[in-house]
Amino acid sequence: MGFFIVQVLTGLSSAAAVFLVASGLSIIFGVTRVVNFAHGSFYMLGAFFAYTFTSHLTSVVGFWVAMLLSAIAVGLIGVVVEILILRRVYQAPELFQLVATFGVILVIQDLALLVWGAEDLLGPLAPGLDSTVNIFGTLLPEYDLALIALSLIVLVALWFLFNRTRWGCLVRAATEDREMVGALGVNQTWLFTGTFFLGSLLAGLGGAAQLPKGGASLLMDFEILAAIFVVVVVGGMGSILGAYLAAVLIFEFNAFGILILPESTLVLMFLLMAIVLILRPWGLLGKPEAPGQLGQVGPPELPYQSASRPLRIIGILFVCFLFSLPAFADDFTLVLAIEMLIMSLFAASLHFAMGPGGMVSFGHAAFFGGGAYAAALLVSHANAPMEVAMLFAPLMSGVLALIVGWFCVRLSGVYLAMLTMAFAQVAWSIVFQWDAATGGDDGILGIWPSAWASDRMAYYYLTLIASVGGILILRHVLFTPFGYAMRAVRDSAVRSESIGIRVSRQKWLAFAFSGFMAGIAGGLFVFSKGSVFPDEMAIPRSFDALIMVLLGGVKTLWGPVTGASVFTWLHDEISRFEYWRLLLGTLIIAIVLAFPQGIAGFFGNWWHRLRNKGI
């Protein structure tokens, strides 16, 4: 009895901090449509600030003042980020802002290291709440009850704020139609800033509130990210109560799940998410997303045209250059070039789904890593030669994408994106935790190319032909009826249905094809590195691909290739510096501010203007 109650309460208290952070994310997304990847960083900052403040304010009252101060401090940092960066890119094509938030993650990581040092910081016990209560013979820390109370207080306060105050009313209106709110005399600039303040404040409060349960560490930012995204999506985007229910559901599921299946941690959460979204595609309390809310703003895309003669010549010259590269490049340049080519193909495959296909995937690494693992497993378990394994890689990621796609394509916009991330996390969790088959975290080693390709130059040519070929195939498909039908479905689903296009099937096959092509990149990758690890399926790898596509420009076919090359090269150059994350983050933010259409998008427009002037 006591055990059961305590386990329930423990689940509720674990849910509390995650709910606080997730509600902030949900609010920010609802109003500003920014998918704030940096939300985890705000959570981390909350914990660090709280650590500093509580070390000075040690009384009972002081502790709670410190919590509040930390939340406000993080809220103000959110305001700074919003004013300095995001405010300037709201007009950019949707999702582009998340590149900026990715830059913010990098900057905050290094700044936190500079300010608070490398060591994990253990939080103090909450003064006055540092003991336990006895519930039918089982002990429960008092602070757990405080956390539960805090989460409920915040839940009620948010409800009151949104439903009983003018500001809340304006925010809800802005969630639906921000432009109209502006036309009614509301300064939406400050409404956005205010929203960002509130959202960041909640992230900071979550980070501060969990301090007595754990502490502050530099790894907190990415560790909470998946959890809060899951909570927001399971609860339903924009629903605060939904986020609360989702957090409770997930952590109760976990608290009792580990009693029955101790090894099911990680997978449980994502499995629950997949189940909820299959049954209720818009989350527990969410509403269907209006069509075209993601990736469909900005100036309309122009019809496809065959490459003009000058562009064709430039392209051919560039490929010739790539073919002659080994003649004058040193060994390492080839290594870097191999990686750039592989990443270009990976990014191009994602672009195929998210640009012309209109299906943004936050989990594309599943197919990249899936291909890599398929090849590696075939080599390590069946002793297959490289040639066979490389063909097997895209087939298996294609099959994986067919399975994932079957669930995902019924959704759209950010829900689709989140569901792909959930499936990618399921795939990652399986690979990470099922070490009997996959070697788990220790990966699969010794996956080296066949003798003829083991020379670096030979492997470079293999990669060059496969990647450039793959990218050209992706491009070609866009011009075929299949590619047109895919774009048709994106442009107008109702029109497509009414001229006999099977919308879901078209999206499904397009998604699978995109996964198939990512698998080629994965196969090339594993043989270039000689090993594969779960990291290749993890969230940061998916983010990499997303950043590459957006950085290059989602509206042009050459955006992903440009983005992948620039990002890979920059990463390699900059990581020689000690505080490279700070530098890379700043640089990414600078690129975002300078090229809101993406790099290739920017030069594409520039080229267009040049041509129109008749030069």
């Binding site: 009826p481 047109y484 039908a485 001229i499």
Partner: protein
């Protein structure tokens, strides 16, 4: 009764307890232009979406050329020969005018899974022919995103005609057009109907258009069919005047 294109019996649909369409029955004959009018929110678009398969009715039957279509998907219903235009034009903004029509032709010829040829070169002459019929062939290569609204309506018509439909469903075909364009478009539609012996079911708020072109008029109010009659009788129906047409006596003098 002569052969019917469309026979609707007892069609009903509700959303979360709100009865949007209630026990609606009517029929449509080849060569007939049938107008469906009624106040906003009367259930016209819901009706349309059930005929075209986007919504599944709660009850009732839709017989299309003597074939039950309830439960079929829009794509299947399209294959039975139903073209559709939308209240808010639904075209492919990232494609040219001609490509929009080519899409419908590609779908009609079952070429959507083709990975070999370039789509923009397939069935182009047929597409141009359709564009000529609706009078915008000279805009063939313009992106749809840059077209004037009235022209988009014509593109939609060309797209809807691509699979040689026997029934056209047109949801407010002239909404947002200037008076002159409205008349032109409806005259064009009437010509095509005559030439191909089509049936047309359309909704419309412009009474000039309705009374000028409809052979018969259905009036929906709060989900119920309150009239199914000739234009003249509908015009004089007191209930219709009260809920929809209004009375000229409320005319405000020009101040």
């Amino acid at each position: 009764m002569s052969e019917t294109s469309l026979q609707i019996t007892g069609l009903s649909k509700s959303f979360g307890g709100v009865q949007a369409v209630m026990d609606v029955s009517f029929s449509l004959h080849p060569g007939e232009l049938l107008a469906l009018i009624g106040p906003n929110g009367a259930g016209k678009t819901t009706c349309f979406n059930m005929l075209n398969g986007q919504l599944k009715p709660d009850s009732g039957s839709v017989m299309l050329f003597s074939k039950e279509t309830v439960g079929l998907k829009p794509a299947d219903i399209w294959r039975l020969g139903v073209g559709r235009t939308f209240q808010i034009t639904a075209t492919y903004s990232s494609m040219t005018v001609c490509e929009n029509v080519q899409m419908a032709l590609l779908s009609d010829r079952q070429q959507l899974m083709s990975f070999t040829r370039r789509a923009s070169r397939m069935y182009r002459p047929e597409a141009l022919e359709l564009l000529k019929q609706v009078g915008i062939v000279e805009q063939e290569d313009r992106p749809c995103s840059t077209l004037a609204y009235g022209d988009l309506k014509r593109v939609e018509l060309a797209v809807a005609l691509a699979n040689n439909p026997r029934l056209l469903l047109m949801d407010e075909p002239t909404a947002g057009m200037a008076p002159k364009e409205r008349v032109e478009l409806m005259a064009l539609t009437a010509d095509i109907v005559k030439e191909r012996n089509l049936s047309v079911l359309f909704t419309e708020h412009d009474m000039d258009v309705v009374f000028a072109h409809a052979d018969r008029i259905l009036v929906l109010n709060r989900g119920k069919l309150i009239a199914d009659d000739t234009p003249e009788n509908v015009r004089n129906n007191p209930e219709v005047r009260m809920v929809y047409l209004g009375t000229e006596t409320e005319e405000i003098a020009h101040a």
